[in-house]
C-alpha cells in the first residue's frame, strides 16, 4: 500500500478505537434520555469523575483493573441516590431536570478541582506493550480498550434484548405510561437506567484515563461529542447511538488528515446539521418519538 492509503487506513482504525469509547458514553446518554426523557448535562462530568477516581484509586489499590471495579461501584452508589432524591422530584419537567443536572455538573467539577487540582495529568497505561501497526508504534493498551468496549457493548445488548429486566427497560423507552399501566415498577427502572447510564460513562472515563489526559474539565468536549452522536443517531435509539459514534469518530480521524483541526470539526457539525434538516429525528430515529 502507498503511504497516503496507509495513513488513511491507520486514521480510520485509530478513530474507531476512540469511537468505541464514545459509543459507551453515548449509549449511556441515549439510555437515560430514552427512559427518563431528560438531557443529562452532567454526563460528561461523570466520565470525568470515573477518570479522576481511577487516577486516585489505581495507585492506591495498586491495580488498575481492580480500580475500575471499585469506580464502577462507587459511581453506581452515587448515581442511584442522585436519581431518586435529586432528580425525581422534577419528574415530568424536562427543563427543571436539566437545570438540576447542570447544578450537579457544577458540584462535580468543583469537587474534582478541589481534590485533584487544576493541572491535567497523564496516567500510565496498565499494559505497556506496543505493536508495530501500519508503520506506527501503536500502544497495545488502546487495542485492549477497544476489545473491552466491544465486550461491554455486547453485554449491554445482551442485557437489553435477552433478559427480562432489559425488556422492561426497553418497554419503558417505548412508552412509559403504557409500561406503568402494565404494572411495571417504573420507579425501579428509572433508578436502574440512570445508574446504568452513569456507570457506562464512568467506565469509559476509567478506560480513557491512560489514553487521554485526566483533568477536571475533560468531560466538556466529550459531552458535546456524545450529544451530537445521540442526536444524529436518533434520540432514544440505542443502536443508532453506537453506530453513529463509530462512524463519526472514524470520519473525524480521517478528515483531520486532510483538513485543519477546526475545519474537520466544523465539517462534522455542518454534516450533522444537514442530517437533522433532512431527518429531524436522526438517522435511526422513529417517526414518532
Amino acid at each position: 500500500m502507498s503511504e497516503p492509503v496507509l495513513t488513511v487506513v491507520f486514521l480510520l482504525m485509530n478513530g474507531l478505537v476512540w469511537g468505541l469509547l464514545v459509543a459507551l458514553i453515548a449509549l449511556g446518554l441515549a439510555l437515560i434520555f430514552g427512559v427518563m426523557g431528560i438531557v443529562n448535562m452532567a454526563h460528561g462530568d461523570l466520565y470525568m469523575a470515573g477518570a479522576v477516581l481511577a487516577f486516585f484509586l489505581g495507585p492506591l489499590l495498586g491495580h488498575f483493573w481492580l480500580g475500575l471495579l471499585v469506580v464502577l461501584f462507587a459511581i453506581a452508589l452515587i448515581a442511584g441516590p442522585i436519581e431518586r432524591y435529586v432528580l425525581r422530584p422534577y419528574e415530568g419537567h424536562p427543563s427543571a431536570t436539566m437545570i438540576a443536572t447542570v447544578g450537579i455538573s457544577f458540584i462535580l467539577q468543583q469537587l474534582a478541582l478541589a481534590a485533584y487540582g487544576g493541572i491535567p495529568k497523564k496516567m500510565d497505561p496498565p499494559w505497556t506493550a506496543s505493536f508495530s501497526l501500519l508503520g506506527v508504534d501503536y500502544p497495545g493498551y488502546r487495542l485492549l480498550v477497544a476489545a473491552i468496549s466491544v465486550l461491554i457493548l455486547g453485554a449491554v445488548w445482551f442485557f437489553l434484548y435477552r433478559t427480562s429486566m432489559g425488556i422492561l427497560v426497553r418497554a419503558s423507552i417505548e412508552d412509559r405510561q403504557m409500561a406503568e399501566a402494565m404494572g411495571i415498577n417504573t420507579s425501579r427502572i428509572l433508578v436502574f437506567t440512570f445508574v446504568l447510564g452513569c456507570v457506562l460513562a464512568a467506565v469509559a472515563g476509567v478506560m480513557a484515563a491512560p489514553v487521554t489526559q485526566v483533568s477536571y474539565l475533560m468531560g466538556t468536549d466529550v459531552a458535546l461529542l456524545s450529544f451530537i452522536v445521540v442526536i444524529v443517531g436518533g434520540l432514544g435509539s440505542l443502536a443508532g447511538a453506537v453506530i453513529t459514534a463509530l462512524v463519526l469518530c472514524s470520519l473525524e480521524g480521517v478528515l483531520s488528515a486532510v483538513l485543519t483541526p477546526v475545519q474537520s470539526k466544523a465539517a462534522i457539525f455542518v454534516l450533522m446539521i444537514t442530517i437533522l434538516m433532512l431527518r429531524p429525528r436522526g438517522i435511526f430515529g422513529q417517526r414518532n418519538g
Binding site: T7, G117, G253, P261
Partner: protein, 411 residues
C-alpha cells in the same frame, strides 16, 4: 407580602455591607491586587503564582515593608476567562483600593485588563507571554515582566540552526500562543538560514496526536519544534517518538516545566527546550536562586516541598521579581499614593537590576519604550533522565527592536 419585601431587600443589604467593609479599613498599607487564574484552564498557574507572591510579600513585610509601609495582598480569581479577569481587575482597584495589580498567565486576561489599567490609572504587571502585551495591545500602565514569545524564539533561532538542524517541522497547539510561536519561529529560522517544511496545528487538550502527525513528519526533516505544555506535551512527545524516533526535538518555552523527564523515558531523551528559568537548581546554582527556591518551597529538582509534586515553575520568578520591581520603583520615585503613579512608571521605565535574592533569574532591566523585560535565556537538554543546561542565550541575542514607544504616551 412583607416576607417578599424582606427577601428582596436581602441582596441589597449584603451589597451595602460589603461596601462599608472597605471604607472601614485603614489606609496605611500599600495594597497590591492579584488577578490569579485559580480555577479554569490555567488553574495550576494560579496556584503556584499565588504561593510565590505571598512568599515575596511575607519577605518584604518581614524586612520592614516598602518605604516603611507594609504590603497587603488582595487575590481574585479570573476563572481563566478574560471577561471575568477584567471585572475582577476593576473590583480590586475600585473596591479593595489596590495601588498595583499583578498576574494572570492568560494573554486574554492581560489584553482585557490592559485598557482597564489605563482607564483606572493603575500600573499592571501581567505574567503572560504574548508579544502584543509589549506591543500594540499594551499602554503606558502595562509592563511585561516576563519574556515574550518573540524574544524567546528570536533568542533560540540562530542557536537552533547552528546546533540542531536546518530543516524543521513546527508542531503547535491550536490557539494564540501556539500560533505566535509558529509564526515567529518560522520567521527567525528563515532569517538564520534554516527552513520550515511543515507547520501542524493541533487542538488544545488533544490526547491522540497521531492523526495530526502521521505522514507529515517526513524523512527530510532534521528536527521538530514543539509548542505544547502540560499533558498536551506528554501526548505530543510520545506520538512524535512513535512516528520518527530518530528526529531531534526542540520545545518552546517551559515545555519541560513540571514534567518528570525520567518517567517519560526514551521519548524525551536528548530533547532541547527554551526556558527563561531552569527547572533544576544545578543549572543556575547561585546562592540567590537557592534562597529563592527555599522561600517559595521548591526543592532542587523543581518539586514542591511537602507535596512532592512537580511545581509549575513557569513565570514564578517573574511574579516574584515583579514584587521587587514595584519595591524598587517605589523607593526610586518616592511614590506615596496613587497620585504619584506617573513618577513610579517613569522610575520603572529603564529600571535595571543585578542578580540577587530579589532577582534570582539574573541581571535584567525593563526597556523604557515597550515596557518589556530584557534578560537572558537558557537552552535546556534532557540527558539521562535529568535536565541540564546546554547553552545560555545572552539578553542581547533575544532582544528585538521595540514595536511601540510608550514613553511618548501621556498618563
Amino acid at each position: 407580602m412583607k416576607r417578599l419585601t424582606f427577601f428582596l431587600c436581602v441582596p441589597w443589604v449584603i451589597l451595602g455591607l460589603s461596601c462599608f467593609e472597605v471604607w472601614a479599613q485603614a489606609k496605611e498599607p500599600i495594597r497590591v491586587g492579584m488577578v490569579a487564574d485559580k480555577t479554569g484552564g490555567l488553574a495550576a498557574y494560579g496556584y503556584s503564582h499565588e504561593k510565590t507572591v505571598k512568599a515575596a510579600i511575607a519577605k518584604i513585610n518581614k524586612e520592614g515593608g516598602i518605604a516603611g509601609r507594609q504590603v497587603e495582598l488582595y487575590v481574585e480569581d479570573t476563572e481563566s476567562k478574560p471577561a471575568v479577569g477584567a471585572v475582577k481587575f476593576r473590583k480590586l482597584v475600585e473596591t479593595n483600593k489596590v495601588d498595583f495589580v499583578i498576574d494572570s498567565n492568560s494573554s486574554g486576561v492581560a489584553v482585557a485588563c490592559a485598557p482597564v489599567a489605563k482607564e483606572l490609572k493603575t500600573p499592571y504587571f501581567p505574567s503572560a507571554g504574548a508579544t502584543e502585551i509589549s506591543g500594540d495591545k499594551g499602554n503606558r500602565y502595562v509592563f511585561q515582566p516576563c519574556t515574550n514569545v518573540r524574544q524567546e524564539v528570536k533568542g533560540i533561532a540562530r542557536w537552533a540552526v547552528e546546533n540542531i538542524g536546518k530543516k524543521w517541522v513546527v508542531v503547535v497547539v491550536n490557539y494564540a500562543w501556539g500560533w505566535s510561536n509558529q509564526e515567529e519561529f518560522t520567521q527567525y529560522i528563515t532569517e538564520n538560514g534554516g527552513k520550515v517544511l511543515e507547520a501542524i496545528r493541533v487542538p488544545l487538550g488533544t490526547s491522540d496526536w497521531l492523526p495530526y502527525l502521521k505522514g507529515k513528519i517526513t524523512q527530510e526533516a532534521d528536527a521538530v519544534f514543539l509548542a505544547a505544555f502540560g499533558s498536551d506535551f506528554l501526548s505530543a512527545i510520545r506520538d512524535i517518538h512513535a512516528i520518527r524516533p530518530d528526529i531531534k526535538k526542540l520545545g518552546a518555552l517551559y515545555a519541560l516545566s513540571a514534567q518528570d523527564v525520567a518517567k517519560i523515558g526514551e521519548a524525551v531523551e536528548g530533547m532541547y527546550c527554551i526556558t527563561s528559568y531552569p527547572t533544576y537548581l544545578a543549572a543556575l546554582d547561585t546562592e540567590a536562586n537557592k534562597a529563592f527556591r527555599e522561600i517559595i518551597g521548591v526543592d532542587p529538582e523543581g518539586k514542591e516541598t511537602g507535596t512532592g509534586t512537580r511545581f509549575v515553575l513557569a513565570y514564578n520568578w517573574a511574579m516574584w521579581q515583579t514584587m521587587f520591581i514595584i519595591k524598587h520603583g517605589i523607593e526610586k520615585s518616592g511614590w506615596k499614593s496613587k497620585a504619584d503613579h506617573p513618577k513610579f512608571i517613569q522610575a520603572v521605565e529603564g529600571l535595571q537590576w543585578k542578580q540577587g535574592v530579589e532577582f534570582p533569574q539574573g541581571d535584567g532591566s525593563i526597556r523604557a519604550q515597550d515596557h518589556l523585560i530584557q534578560t537572558g535565556l537558557y537552552v535546556e537538554q534532557v540527558t539521562k533522565g535529568t535536565i541540564r543546561v546546554a547553552a545560555r542565550i545572552p539578553a542581547s541575542e533575544a532582544s528585538y527592536p521595540p514595536i511601540v514607544d510608550h514613553t511618548r504616551e501621556g498618563f
